[in-house]
Symmetry: C2
Subunit: 203 residues, 2 copies
């Protein structure tokens, strides 16, 4: 933020405006989709002027990216997410995280903006690469790190391609979610984890 | 088609128009996306009147669905696809098909309309369910049948959830393709198949 007035009141107002803008962008992208989302509509919903948004963000993509990252941060604050667990039981840890993802995809608040952004990113290469780099990849790296720890502990095969193992865990869920082939359930998450782990177990 | 003039010349003309409309719809959806695609633009590109399209199809979704099915049919005619192979070697058969899918996703002609339709279907539930039911599910069933044959032959575990195994094979590819996380290669296809098969091998 390039705000020059640094009084406490102004900071509080700025933070309130910032959150109102991020919340409005998430609500609206879920309602109207990425293409029809406008800075004007976000400003109107947030009760701020258009210029307030343009002062802090160069584009609607930038607003949404920060909003999505803030949404992930909220989940952490609410205790839904406290870092990728490492209890020593790789199956339990992966199931825990994949079940949380299932829960998010079954929760309209997370699902609607995630769907709108994923669809927009699928079409718009530049936008998609930005979201993949800044939102998706950091999440995949957490899976990778947990699997590498399990690999170091001798719980999964040393020759396994860990990155592809991660995609085998999250890919079916994304496939089922985006293309609505079948319901997303905890059972589904558990079976994915079990079948992937069997495939990458030490020989 | 509800054409009443059944003379040979008229049939040829109709078939030519039908193909021109389907081809135009695929080219245009790749260029402008599903939302901006109009029947008018398809008609102009195909060199036919709007009414010709409305005589045969009720909506742009219906045109695109038939066009996508025709595109799959073309691949069969060109010998790129001759039914899901069953050579007795489940790994070789799955790799063969998954490599073909990788090739299609690396071919603009297939990739652009598939991406536009998948993104549109992700947003528009009704459209998405239609595409999933009429295009995606029939393809997944071919995988399922091949895996069930391998299961009957004792090559994969009797207790495995075959449907989820299919999603473990195609999910990572869809994930990588739509979200552009990493390049789609034959090596990737092969590793996916190998790691999934290890996971569902007889215990």
């Amino acid at each position: 933020m390039a705000d020059t007035d640094k009084s406490p009141d102004s900071s509080r107002r700025s933070e309130r405006s910032r959150r109102a803008i991020l919340d409005a962008s998430l609500a609206l992208v879920g309602e109207v989709g990425y293409n029809k989302l406008t800075i004007e509509a976000i400003a109107a919903r947030a009760g701020v002027g258009k210029q307030t948004i343009y002062r802090w963000w160069p584009s609607k993509a930038a607003v949404l990216l920060e909003a999505s990252m803030a949404l992930s941060g909220d989940a952490e604050d609410e205790g839904e997410w406290t870092g990728f667990p490492d209890t020593g039981d790789i199956a339990a840890d992966l199931k825990h995280v994949l079940r949380l993802t299932v829960d998010q995809f079954n929760d309209e608040k997370y699902e609607a903006p995630a769907r709108a952004l994923t669809a927009a990113g699928a079409i718009d290469r530049e936008l998609g690469e930005k979201f993949t780099r800044q939102l998706l990849e950091p999440a995949l790296v957490l899976y990778e790190n947990r699997l590498r720890a399990a690999q170091a502990a001798g719980q999964i095969d040393a020759d396994i391609d860990v990155r592809i193992a991660v995609e085998m865990i999250v890919g079916p869920l994304t496939h089922r979610w985006l293309q609505r082939t079948n319901p997303l359930t905890h059972d589904f998450a558990d079976t994915c984890v079990d079948q992937v782990l069997r495939g990458i177990a030490p020989r």
